[in-house]
């Protein structure tokens, strides 16, 4: 399931892209699963088809989905995180106290830690 907020500062196409990418990386959308058509998703969300098409094309560029005229848009092979990484992420998230930390704060902290621990060239 995905949800969009038209009042949000984040562009709608980005909201869609982030949520579908999350569903794919978490494995909730399995490899080969067929996504709704651009027209269907746009009609369901009550937005312009071009917005959904932009999200899908970005996901395709990221290698998360493949699109063909015959079979529509499907989750690409090996797009999900491996089981060990997913388990680690799940355990990490469960240790966070949601009452004191927002998702944005947590992500910025993860990003900073990621950058700091990047192996030197």
């Amino acid at each position: 399931m995905i949800a969009i907020d038209l009042a949000s500062a984040i562009p709608v196409f980005e909201q869609i892209r982030v949520q579908i990418a999350g569903e794919i990386r978490s494995g909730r959308l399995p490899e080969g699963a067929r996504l709704p058509s651009v027209r269907q998703l746009a009609a369901d969300l009550g937005i312009a088809p071009g917005t959904v098409a932009k999200s899908f094309s970005t996901l395709e560029l990221e290698g998360l989905v493949t699109t063909s005229r015959a079979s529509g848009t499907r989750v690409a092979p090996d797009a999900a995180l491996d089981d060990a990484t997913r388990t680690s992420v799940r355990q990490f998230v469960h240790t966070i106290d949601r009452r004191t930390l927002s998702l944005d704060s947590l992500l910025s902290a993860v990003r900073a830690e990621w950058d700091a621990s990047r192996p030197l060239p």
Binding site: M1, I2, D5, L35, P36, S37, L41, D44, L45
Partner: protein, 249 residues
């Protein structure tokens, strides 16, 4: 030559096509009306599932109207090919040649009935497809409960459409089989001056019985579809009322 006009003053074409025309009208209306739209203020939450008209019911329920339509078309072709023209020039007779002459019975579902029957069957299938596509492709968003309810309504409407289409086709196919059976048995029966054709007579009686069974089964399906349709209609009214209440609020 013996001639037996079972229904001499009524060609029965409107009677034969009435179930199909009624079903086509129903399907077209449903395709035009569609299902209730989501409330304007419904949460923009959607499922990431590709919907298809073929996923709102069991697979066999989609095969049934197609199989019935193919049976009707096949019968129309066979009956047309075995029909003969009557005195008025319409291909609505069935003639059996004997050693001492021939016997013609009418009405028989030859080309005069068969071609319109095939046309309305094709139209009925097209209208059924249009209604099914309309149900499945309508926007679907809202809370999980709203979406579940909307899918339930669509499933019921799909069931109604498929039952009604299958039942209607079986009713007029059964009627045509019955009429064909009557014509064949009459033109080959033992009441003729000639000895008749016992095998053909048996075939005619068998077609009559099978036709009656088809018609009764088709009528039962139509009645079942009406029950499903009333139930779906009540649920749809509830959904529309919910939508109006939300918009008003």
């Amino acid at each position: 030559m013996a001639a037996d006009n079972v229904l001499p003053y009524s060609y029965g074409l409107p009677f034969l096509l009435a179930p199909a025309c009624f079903a086509i009208g129903t399907m077209v209306t449903l395709a035009a009306v569609g299902v209730p739209a989501p409330a304007r203020d419904a949460p923009r939450e959607v499922d990431l599932v590709a919907r298809s008209a073929l996923r709102l019911g069991p697979r066999w329920s989609y095969v049934a109207p197609v199989a019935a339509a193919l049976a009707a078309a096949t019968f129309a072709v066979v009956a047309g090919a075995t029909s003969s023209p009557t005195q008025d020039g319409h291909w609505r007779g069935f003639t059996v040649q004997f050693a001492n002459g021939s016997s013609t019975s009418s009405p028989y579902p030859g080309w005069y009935y068969g071609i319109p029957l095939m046309i309305v069957t094709a139209l009925l299938l097209a209208a059924t497809c249009a209604a099914l596509v309309r149900f499945s492709s309508a926007p679907l968003r809202g809370t999980p409960q709203d979406r579940e309810f909307a899918i339930l309504v669509r499933r019921r409407l799909t069931r109604f459409v498929l039952l009604a289409a299958t039942g209607s086709i079986m009713v007029y196919l059964g009627s045509a089989l019955t009429v064909a059976g009557m014509a064949i048995s009459t033109s080959s029966g033992p009441n003729l001056p000639d000895p008749g054709d016992p095998a053909l007579h048996v075939l005619g009686v068998a077609l009559f019985v099978v036709g009656m069974l088809f018609a009764v089964f088709g009528a039962a399906l139509v009645v079942a579809s009406i029950q499903v349709g009333v139930s779906a209609g009540n649920r749809t009214s509830t959904a529309r009322a919910r939508t109006s209440t939300k918009v008003a609020a």
